[in-house]
């Protein structure tokens, strides 16, 4: 299957993964700063908080993944659970 001589591709090289990772941080930082540059049309007061959407997105996603991990402890069964 895997060809031993094959070079690791661009996406698999460690330095590139680090680059992508840092890139995401930079983009998020810039997007957060953008909030100070325009007039935000808001309905709820909380939206006015700087980078509210970003912070909220980050927190709920971490919560989602950690919550799902806990849920897995309760829900996870063998792959053939129903076939037995």
């Amino acid at each position: 299957m895997t060809n031993g001589k094959e070079q690791p591709s661009w996406f698999e090289r460690k330095e590139n993964i680090t680059r992508i990772y840092r890139g995401v941080w930079v983009i998020c930082g810039l997007l957060a700063l953008t909030d100070f540059l325009y007039h935000k049309h808001i309905v709820f007061k909380v939206e006015g908080f700087p980078a509210f959407y970003g912070l909220y997105g980050f927190i709920v996603c971490v919560g989602l993944v950690l919550g799902a991990k806990e849920l897995r402890k309760v829900l996870k069964q063998d792959e053939n659970y129903y076939d037995r």
């Binding site: 299957m1 895997t2 060809n3 690791p8 591709s9 996406f11 698999e12 992508i20 990772y21 995401v24 941080w25 983009i27 998020c28 997007l31 957060a32 953008t34 909030d35 325009y38 935000k40 049309h41 808001i42 309905v43 709820f44 939206e47 980078a51 509210f52 959407y53 970003g54 912070l55 909220y56 997105g57 980050f58 709920v60 996603c61 971490v62 989602l64 993944v65 950690l66 919550g67 799902a68 991990k69 849920l71 897995r72 309760v74 829900l75 996870k76 069964q77 063998d78 792959e79 053939n80 659970y81 129903y82 076939d83």
Partner: protein
Amino acid sequence: MIADLPPGLILIIGALVIPFLKLRLRPYFMLALPVLSLIHLLLLPDGNQAQVDMFGHTLVFLRVDSLSFIFGLIFLIATTLNVIYGWHEPDPVQQVSSLIYAGAGVGAVFVGDLISLFIFWELTAIASVFLIWASRNERAFRAGMRYLVIQIGSGVILLAGVILHYQATGSIAFDNLGLVSFPTALIFIAFGIKCAFPLLHNWLQDAYPEATVVGTVVLSAFTTKLAIYALARGFPGTDILIVIGATMAAFPIFYAVIENDLRRVLAYSLNNQLGFMVVGIGIGTPMALNGTVAHAFCHILYKGLLFMSMGAVLYRTGTAKGSELGGLWKSMPWTASFCIVGAASISAFPLFSGFISKSLIIAAAADEGHWITWLVLLFASAGVFHHSGIKIPFFAFFAHDSGIRCKEAPRNMLIAMGIAAFLCIAIGVYPAALYAILPNQVGFEPYTTTHVITQLQLLMFSALAFSVLMRHGLYPPELKSTNIDSDWIYRRALPALLTWASGIITHLHLRTLMRAQVRLQRFITSVHRHHGPQGTLARTWPIGSMVLWIAIMLCVMLVFYYL
């Protein structure tokens, strides 16, 4: 006369001809059907047309208005794409059932009365189950059976509701019914089952991933969106739908994060997307309803596209499990690109279709002051990017190299995916075309600075959360597993309960039987003692015994005489 023909019937009648055609001709013929139907639909004038008087009722087979038109339109576009996607598939079972199913879906959208709706409602169930059974294995057969029982059950509840509703009101018209009585509640539940309401949902995640490569793509388009259409027609502005929809949007995403089968992940995210649409119906303002309809339109395209890309992976590698895939972008670069377009659309990135439809619903929720719902929908938006936008393409095409080397998807699949991807971007870039055919006249501008920046923040920070969790090894790995969902109730709990109950009943039965036997034995013994060869009563001669009995009877009579 030709103007009276419901567009769905073209597909259904045409499908019946397919098995008699030569194998080579079939795909061309199948493609011609939805295209013809589409042209026919575009030429149809507004208003009620085909009516048939039957059993003293007026059945309306064709009602063209802005709501039915747009659903009919997207159903036919989806059918066209599905035919192209399944071009290589020679199985007549799938060819016929997919078109009858699509025809039934289109048919149901255009009916104007509840009896005709019931007929098409059941036809979608019966036709579609063959797409699951066409996998031709034990698992698929069982999943199909469960699917069929639930779908037919939904139809039976619908019928019960319709009959009671007719008795109460004397009307079978399919218009705004409102959740006002027991009969309408039954109809509401019937719609809810097909719409995968929380706890009524699991037929979807159970059955769709067991269908064939083409079958899952076909299934993803019609059943649930027909239910969305039916809810939008019958129950707009029903408050409880806001709660139901918000729950639907939020809770399947937890399952999506830990699910290994990527087609099942998509089934969970399908459920989550339906949640947004249901919230829109619940809010019921013109803008919210527009949002629901627009989102259903975009959703059918990008969800179909995502299922197509995972189907292509399954077709080439034989698996759609995240734990076994990875690094496929080298082998399937086109499929990977189209998948990413689908992922960007479902995540509602600006310039992709989901953005211009989902923001209508979220904005409507905010405008009406539903702040909890609004927060839940934002959470669901971030979550959907997380599990559908990132997880699906990441684990299939990137992540670690699984070592699988395969061919790119067949050309017909690539064409279907290409068209779907093009439409996703086209709608995202030029939303005015879609907005123009929505049921209500609403001025809404999706591309404001606030919308774009806030949405980008939400998405990029979700991506950041994913990256951070991945980097620090906190992200749950893809594991071979089955996660218990509500189907556990009828696949494990109820059977176990029945086994337990039948055990107890068997035990009681045996004990009663044994006691009866012991009693009987005792009785026989006692009879034997008195009347047997050694018994007291057997010792006398029969005449002596008779005299004794006559004497006893005379005594008894004497006693009665004096009483």
